[in-house]
């Protein structure tokens, strides 16, 4: 019998109707992800990687193909696929605790109030944000907001954690500390993660597998590379190893030689 992956994208294609006729964004995307695997999806802007993530989230319906999670077909959004949005998307009228609580209320409906409260605080502690539980998002820095966004997502105990360029809007130092936080959490929880990024180092440092996308239109998976660096990974030490640099070179080569930035080429 054929092995069925935990999360599998089969023959995914997306065509948008436009004024100039149909536009094919994605074509023949096949991807099988095992439970507990951390997959980074990398590609140039406009290659449809966000669309792909939204399809797994159920926010966008594919024109062709199917996404199976644990054997079931995905056809709508649900809390079993938590999304960490690039702009954190915390609700500004709720406190940090209430933002996480909103998600917990949806996913732990049968639990008692005290238990839900403890779970919210536990998850805020995981991202080192318990101290800000009563603050509102407007009082937090960008990095802190995204920590809360991560807490909200992992508090939902999703079957798949989807991250849409989670650190794209942050400065380099904040990004590094958030990456460390994600690695720390991943070591504890071993979630199945799909992360979109356009940062080569981020992909290689965090992921077990880097999936590289070709340029659109009709983008698809160009290369699928395993990153075999041992865990736990430390950014300084890892950067000095040959494996790390080899992986990094491979991704750079793919992005800048085989599929260079389409907007540069046009210029």
């Amino acid at each position: 019998m054929k092995h069925q992956a935990y999360l599998s994208l089969e023959g995914i294609g997306v065509t948008f109707p436009t004024r100039k006729g149909p536009f094919t964004a994605l074509q023949n995307v096949d991807l099988a992800i095992e439970k507990g695997q951390f997959v980074a999806l990398i590609g140039h802007s406009g290659c449809g990687k966000s669309t792909l993530l939204n399809i797994v989230a159920g926010l966008v319906k594919p024109t062709r193909g199917v996404v199976l999670l644990d054997g079931g077909v995905i056809d709508k959004p649900g809390p079993d696929r938590a999304v960490i949005f690039q702009d954190h998307s915390l609700l500004p009228w709720l406190t940090v605790e209430e933002n996480v609580r909103l998600a917990v209320d949806q996913t732990m409906k049968d639990r008692g109030k005290a238990e839900k409260r403890d779970w919210v605080l536990h998850n805020l502690e995981l991202v080192h944000m318990a101290h800000a539980a009563t603050k509102r998002p407007g009082e937090l820095s960008g990095g802190m907001k995204q920590r809360v966004g991560i807490a909200r997502a992992i508090a939902m105990q999703p079957r798949v954690l989807l991250m849409d360029e989670p650190f794209g809007a942050l400065d380099a130092l904040t990004r590094a500390s958030l990456q460390d936080a994600v690695m720390e959490i991943q070591a504890k929880l071993n979630n199945t993660v799909v992360m979109i990024t356009h940062d080569v180092d981020e992909a290689v440092l965090l992921a077990d597998r880097v999936v590289m996308m070709t340029n659109g239109p009709a983008a698809t998976i160009g290369e699928d590379m395993a990153v075999t660096l041992p865990r736990p990974r430390k950014r300084i030490e890892a950067a000095e190893t040959a494996d790390y640099n080899q992986a990094r070179q491979a991704v750079l080569h793919f992005l800048h030689q085989r599929y260079s930035n389409p907007s540069d080429r046009a210029a």
């Binding site: 959004p77 809390p79 999304v83 949005f85 702009d87 609700l91 500004p92 009228w93 909103l102 407007g138």
Partner: protein
């Protein structure tokens, strides 16, 4: 499909929580009844008790605050004095068609000093004498009661319709053109229809308030719903919120600043409409009081009434603005 140019955009910065400043102060297309917020109104520090007994070190900040207070209160006070002076000088002549301030004071002394004539308070509420000689506050209260009913109904219906056309593209396309046309109809133009339907002064005035105030409430609420950031909607979808919890946890809080822009414009328009309606219909209310005083050649009473109307209208605007800020802060 964002509604119209009538609408303000309060959530310029989605990261910050709705703050007092996110409530727009005025709306260009319908600004006639929304005052321009004076900076002094928000910046006025509270007056403090006498600082005389305090040591010098504690005195400095108090002095500072007193100076700030004086700086914000003196200019309007000074302006008032100048205005009254000019008015007195221009109309001091007994032949003058417009009564001078001193004439207003002497001739309308009774109206100014006894506003609560014919009004009694007890445990069951406020009672205004039926007909006869009623003080100006009594007329104001009658008008306010009509505004409260008409505006209350238009707030409920306006928010509900605003959510409907904000949420449903079909409803928006079906109803928006109608609303855009109807909202330009001046309040008084509705009066004959209103009288024909209700036959009585009271209910038809209430209807007039309702039909006047509802448009900005509908249109601003709809714009608020349409401008809910896509990420908030996506949060609702990913969490699989039920329609009811989506409305109460996401849609309404996200729409509050827009909604209160509409409610604030609406209350100002209500106050405009009630005075006009009562002037034409007669009977009771502050509009009737003005018309009656004009017909009795008591122009000084009219002037007193104008001041009352201005003060009440200003208060209504501020009260709704204040409620909006409170609600936005709490979410």
């Amino acid at each position: 499909m964002t509604a119209t140019s009538v609408l303000a955009t309060p959530f310029a910065d989605d990261a910050s929580p709705p703050s007092p400043r996110t409530l727009p102060e005025s709306n260009p297309a319908m600004a006639l009844c929304v005052d321009n917020a004076t900076p002094s109104a928000s910046g006025t520090p509270e007056t403090d008790g006498s600082p005389r007994t305090l040591p010098a070190s504690a005195l400095a900040p108090l002095l500072e605050r007193a100076r700030d207070f004086a700086a914000s209160i003196l200019p309007p006070l000074l302006m008032l004095v100048v205005l009254l002076g000019v008015w007195e000088a221009a109309c001091g002549n007994p032949e003058s068609n417009l009564p001078s301030p001193s004439r207003v004071w002497t001739e309308s002394h009774d109206v100014i000093m006894h506003p609560l004539k014919g009004v009694s308070f007890d445990a069951t509420g406020v009672h205004i004498q039926d007909g006869g000689d009623v003080g100006i506050a009594g007329h104001i209260l009658t008008s306010l009661e009509r505004v409260a009913i008409g505006y209350g109904l238009s707030a409920v219906a306006g928010v509900a319709l605003g959510i409907l056309i904000g949420q449903s593209l079909f409803a928006f396309r079906a109803l928006d053109p109608l609303f855009q046309v109807l909202r330009t109809v001046p309040p008084l133009a509705w009066l004959p229809i209103s009288l024909a339907i209700f036959q009585q002064a009271g209910p038809s005035a209430v209807f007039l308030i309702f039909i006047t105030a509802i448009w900005p409430i509908i249109l601003n609420t709809a714009a608020g719903v349409q401008n809910i950031p896509a990420t908030y909607r996506n949060v609702g979808r990913v969490l699989a919120l039920s329609p009811a919890s989506y409305i109460f946890r996401i849609m309404l809080p996200a729409t509050v600043p827009y909604m209160f822009t509409g409610l604030r414009i609406g209350v100002g328009m209500s106050w405009l409409a009630i005075v006009a309606a009562e002037m034409v219909q007669g009977g009771t209310g502050i509009g009737f009081f003005i018309w009656d005083s004009y017909n009795s050649s008591l122009l000084t009473d009219t002037i007193v009434a104008l001041i009352w109307i201005g003060m009440v209208g200003f208060s209504l605007d501020r009260i709704v603005g204040w409620i909006g800020r409170r609600v936005a802060r709490q979410g």
